[in-house]
C-alpha cells in the first residue's frame, strides 16, 4: 500500500522533472512536498486553503464554519465593502447605509452569519497594520451589535495589508484597500436573542 504510493510518487515526480527540464529549468520548479498536516488542532483552526489539505476539515472550528455563501443580494445588501479614510476606523458616508442594511438583515435573520474582514493599505509595518485592520473590522462589528445583531453571528479577521483589493501603489489603489469586507457564511444555529 505504502509501496504503491511511493511508486506513484516516483512516477509523478519523474514526469514533473521531465516537464521541468522541457520548460528549460526556468520559472516554476517542481512543487516540493507539502508539510505535514497540523499534529494537534487543539485550538480549533481549519485547514482549507493551504497545502491542498482536506477541505472537508473546514467544518468545525471553535469559531464556526468559515464556508462562504452568496447571502442576500437585494438593494444595498449586494454592497459588501465599507471604505475608510487613511489612518481611520470611522464609518462614514455610504458606509453608514451599507452597515445599516446588513445589520437590519442579520438582526431579522438570526441564523445568518458573517465574517468581517478588516484591511489596510500597504504603508507601514505589517503586524501593526493587522492591528489597524482589526480596528476597522471591530468598528463595523460594534455598529452591527448596536443595531441588534447577536455576537454569535459575527466573526472578525484582520488581513492587514496582506490581501489588497487593488494591486496598485498610489492613493487611488490605497483608498480601495482601506476597507472592511462583509462575507456571508453558511447559516449556523439561530443565535440566542440579545438580552
Amino acid at each position: 500500500m505504502a509501496e504503491q504510493r511511493s511508486i506513484n510518487r516516483v512516477l509523478a515526480l519523474l514526469v514533473a522533472a521531465a516537464m521541468l527540464t522541457l520548460a528549460g529549468c526556468g520559472s516554476k520548479p517542481v512543487k516540493p512536498p507539502p508539510p505535514a498536516a497540523p499534529a494537534e488542532s487543539n485550538a480549533g483552526a481549519l485547514s482549507e486553503g493551504a497545502n491542498g489539505a482536506n477541505a472537508a476539515n473546514a467544518g468545525g472550528g471553535a469559531l464556526g464554519s468559515q464556508e462562504e455563501t452568496a447571502g442576500p443580494q437585494a438593494g444595498l445588501l449586494a454592497t459588501r465593502v465599507i471604505y475608510f479614510d487613511f489612518d481611520s476606523a470611522v464609518i462614514q458616508g455610504a458606509g453608514v447605509d451599507v452597515l445599516a442594511a446588513h445589520a437590519k438583515y442579520l438582526a431579522a435573520n438570526p441564523q445568518a452569519r458573517v465574517r468581517l474582514e478588516g484591511n489596510t493599505d500597504e504603508r507601514g509595518s505589517r503586524e501593526y497594520n493587522i492591528g489597524l485592520g482589526d480596528r476597522r473590522a471591530q468598528a463595523v462589528r460594534r455598529g452591527m451589535l448596536l443595531q441588534g445583531v447577536a455576537e454569535g453571528q459575527i466573526t472578525t479577521v484582520s488581513y492587514g495589508e496582506e490581501r489588497p483589493a487593488d494591486p496598485g501603489h498610489d492613493e487611488a489603489a490605497w483608498a480601495k484597500n482601506r476597507r472592511v469586507e462583509i462575507v456571508y457564511l453558511t447559516p449556523g444555529q439561530p443565535a440566542a436573542p440579545k438580552p
Binding site: 529549468c25 516540493p32 497540523p38 485550538a43 481549519l46 497545502n51 489539505a53 507601514g124 493587522i130 501603489h169
Partner: protein
C-alpha cells in the same frame, strides 16, 4: 503523523534524484533562487584572490566551492575578487603560492583549498588564507560534512575568511526565511520559503492561497513560527523545518499574530486580539500551554521582541497616539517604558544579538525606512533609502540587517550593513518577496 514525515523526507530525496537524472543544475533542484545585486559597497574593497579549489568529482556534485566563497565575499560589499583569468597560477595548496606574484596581481590576500572524500564518505573542505605582503598563512581550517552539505561548508569557509580579515564573524552559513507572493488580487498565492543567506538552496515550507506572514526562527534554528490565514482566520503555527511537522499553537478569536521565540526557545510571545478587538502582548509557554498576559491597554500593542537576556520585551504600541516602541517585563505586570521618541512612527522592533542596537521601521519625511537606535545613547540612524521599507531582521552577527522593500511595485529583499556602507538586493525571478527573517548561527 510519523508516516507523513517519512513520506515528506523521501519525496525531497526523490526530487533531488529526479532533478539529477534530468540534468537540472543545482540552482533549480528545489526552488528558484533569489538573484543578488550589490547596491552599495565600501569605497576601497579589500582585494582578494580565491583560487578554484581542487575538486573531488563526482562526490562534490560539480559545486564550485571557490565560486561560492567569492560570491559571498563580494556580496558583503567589503571585498573585490581577482578575476580567474588574471590569476598568475592555480595552486590548491599553500606550498604552491608565490606571494609576490599575487601581490603583483593586485591581491592583498590569496585563498587556496581543496575538496576531498574521507573514508566514511563525508567530504572535507580545507582552505588556507595567505597574506600576500608578508607571505604569512593567516588561517588554515577544515570543514567536514555529508556531500549534501558542501555548499554550507563553502559558506563556513567564507565565514572564517571574513572573521580573520574584517574582525567580525561572518553570517554566510546561515539561513533566511521569507514570504513569496505571486499573482494579482484576489487570486494571490503565498509561499513560505527557507533559503541560504545568499538566496540559494531555497526550500518551500508552506504553500497557501491565503496570507502567510511573520516567520520567526527558534533560537536553535530548527523551528519556524509563523502566522497563516489558511483557515481564513488567523492562526499561529510552529513548524519543524527539516521534516515539515507542525503544530497549531494559537487560533483564538480575533488576532493571532507576531510570534517571537524566547531566547531559551520555550516560550512564544505573540499578539492576541480577542473577539472584542484589543490587541495585547501575551507569552505562551509551549510546554505547558500556559498563557500570560503582558500588556493590557486599549491601544494596539503588537510586534513583541525579546531582549537577549529573556527578561523583557520590546513592542509597538499606539497608546500615545502614534506607534512607538516600548519595553516591558516579560514576566508580566510591569509598566511599559517608552524607548523611541524621534518622529511619529516607529514600529516593529528587532534587537541585535548583543542587545545594544534596536532596528525598527520609521517614518522619515513621508517614507517608511529602516532605522537603528543605539539603546545606550538613544541615537537614531536611518539606514535605508526606499519609500516602503519594512520588516527589518538582524543577521546573527549583528553587522547586517535584512528587510523588505518595494520598487516599481514589486517587493524584494535587501540587506544593509549596520554601518550603512554596504547593501544588497535579493530579487525573485517572478512575484514579490517580503517579510524576511534571518536565522541564527548554525551549530
Amino acid at each position: 503523523m510519523p508516516y507523513r514525515i517519512k513520506a515528506s523526507r523521501s519525496r525531497t530525496w526523490l526530487l533531488l534524484v529526479a532533478a539529477a537524472v534530468f540534468g537540472c543544475g543545482a540552482a533549480c533542484t528545489v526552488y528558484a533562487a533569489l538573484q543578488i545585486e550589490i547596491t552599495s559597497g565600501v569605497r576601497d574593497p579589500i582585494p582578494i584572490a580565491i583560487v578554484p579549489f581542487a575538486p573531488d568529482s563526482p562526490a562534490d556534485g560539480g559545486l564550485d566551492v571557490a565560486g561560492v566563497v567569492q560570491h559571498d565575499l563580494e556580496g558583503s560589499g567589503r571585498f573585490r575578487a581577482l578575476p580567474r583569468e588574471r590569476m598568475p597560477s592555480t595552486p590548491t595548496r599553500v606550498e604552491g603560492v608565490t606571494a609576490s606574484d599575487w601581490k603583483a596581481a593586485g591581491s592583498d590576500y590569496v585563498v587556496v583549498g581543496r575538496v576531498a572524500t574521507l573514508e566514511n564518505g563525508a567530504l572535507a573542505v580545507d582552505f588556507d588564507l595567505i597574506n600576500t605582503l608578508t607571505g604569512a598563512r593567516l588561517a588554515s581550517q577544515r570543514f567536514t560534512g555529508p556531500p549534501s552539505a558542501l555548499r554550507n561548508a563553502a559558506h563556513r569557509v567564507s565565514d572564517a575568511i571574513y572573521q580573520k580579515i574584517v574582525g567580525v564573524r561572518g553570517a554566510f552559513a546561515t539561513r533566511i526565511a521569507y514570504v513569496s507572493v505571486d499573482g494579482t488580487p484576489p487570486a494571490q498565492h503565498y509561499q513560505l520559503i527557507v533559503a541560504d543567506a545568499d538566496g540559494e538552496n531555497a526550500h518551500l515550507i508552506l504553500d497557501s492561497r491565503f496570507p502567510i506572514m511573520s516567520p520567526a526562527w527558534s533560537p536553535d534554528g530548527q523551528w519556524l513560527a509563523y502566522v497563516s490565514f489558511e483557515s481564513k482566520l488567523s492562526g499561529v503555527y510552529v513548524q519543524l523545518v527539516r521534516t515539515g511537522e507542525r503544530r497549531l499553537v494559537s487560533a483564538r478569536a480575533g488576532i493571532n499574530g507576531a510570534p517571537a521565540w524566547s531566547p531559551d526557545g520555550r516560550k512564544l510571545a505573540l499578539t492576541l486580539g480577542g473577539s472584542n478587538g484589543n490587541p495585547d502582548i501575551y507569552v505562551l509557554d509551549l510546554g505547558t500551554q500556559a498563557l500570560t498576559r503582558i500588556t493590557d491597554d486599549p491601544s494596539i500593542d503588537t510586534e513583541p521582541e525579546w531582549t537577549p537576556d529573556g527578561r523583557s520585551l520590546f513592542f509597538t504600541s499606539d497608546r500615545a497616539g502614534s506607534p512607538q516602541i516600548y519595553e516591558v517585563s516579560a514576566s508580566g505586570g510591569g509598566r511599559p517604558k517608552r524607548i523611541t521618541f524621534e518622529g511619529n512612527y516607529n514600529a516593529r522592533p528587532r534587537v541585535s544579538a548583543d542587545g545594544t542596537q534596536l532596528a525598527m521601521v520609521t517614518l522619515d519625511g513621508g517614507n517608511y525606512r529602516i532605522a537603528v537606535q543605539d539603546l545606550a545613547s538613544g541615537a537614531v540612524r536611518v539606514l535605508s533609502h526606499g519609500h516602503l521599507d519594512e520588516s527589518p531582521s538582524f543577521a546573527p552577527n549583528g553587522a547586517t540587517l535584512i528587510y523588505s522593500q518595494r520598487e516599481a511595485g514589486r517587493g524584494s529583499l535587501a540587506t544593509v550593513s549596520v554601518d550603512g556602507l554596504t547593501g544588497l538586493r535579493l530579487k525573485a525571478q517572478q512575484g514579490a518577496v517580503r517579510d524576511p527573517a534571518w536565522g541564527p548561527f548554525g551549530t
